[in-house]
Symmetry: C2
Subunit: 101 residues, 2 copies
DNA sequence: ATAGTAATTAGCGGTCAAGCTAATTATGAA
DNA sequence: TTCATAATTAGCTTGACCGCTAATTACTAT
């Protein structure tokens, strides 16, 4: 869960998409036109963001409108802050060997 | 810069290392013993975190002590919050086609 | 049905991340 | 020096990611 969010944000173009989207919804074509990458490439980046639940897609006639899902971004920020100091205890202890205390 | 931080946090084991390290410094051996992964594997994960400046390494006799670099985590959280709403204007507009307004 | 536009999916080549074992460096002790 | 321990680096395989072009799906309009 957190993994997919961080990985999604781990690409500059995808962060830029989030920056654009937080100002308002945009269609795939709008976004594809904003970057140097080809349309299919942008489309796949959008899919990565969607899989991470960072954006939502809604068909609007012939276009598909994308919107930022700010609550997930807030969750991600909270997860980092948990790493910093305050223990909000996310992150399951899988593949941990023992109690690690 | 932000890319390396997000990618570093994009692996569960590395987030767990950060969770452990924020409670206090640990040697590579300590950390290697906590996870199911082999020692070299853990070592490389530590290196990824170090490259992202999320941790620091200091030789202490025969061991190497790792410490969390909380300020970088705070920066990462700030970067996400910038994505959420407040415009602290990180993230350079590389590979952007135009003004995108 | 046909044509046109919007967007994704398929497929390809190249690169990079992740895991392992084995080999190597580095330090400390005898 | 020699031995033992700590940790990384080297080498390998597997699988995922990134970017492209070409092909395909989805919808609108005529």
């Amino acid at each position: 869960m957190a993994t997919s969010v961080f990985n999604a944000l781990g690409h500059p173009l995808r962060r830029k998409v989030m920056m654009v989207l937080r100002k308002g919804p945009k269609t795939s074509g709008d976004l594809a036109g904003m970057f140097d990458a080809s349309w299919p490439t942008v489309s796949r980046h959008l899919n990565v963001l969607k899989e991470a639940d960072l954006i939502t897609a809604e068909r609007k006639g012939t276009s598909i409108v994308y919107r930022a899902n700010t609550s997930v971004l807030e969750d991600a920020a909270a997860a980092i802050l948990a790493l910093v100091g305050r223990d909000d205890g996310d992150d399951r202890d899988d593949d941990m060997k023992e109690a690690a205390e």
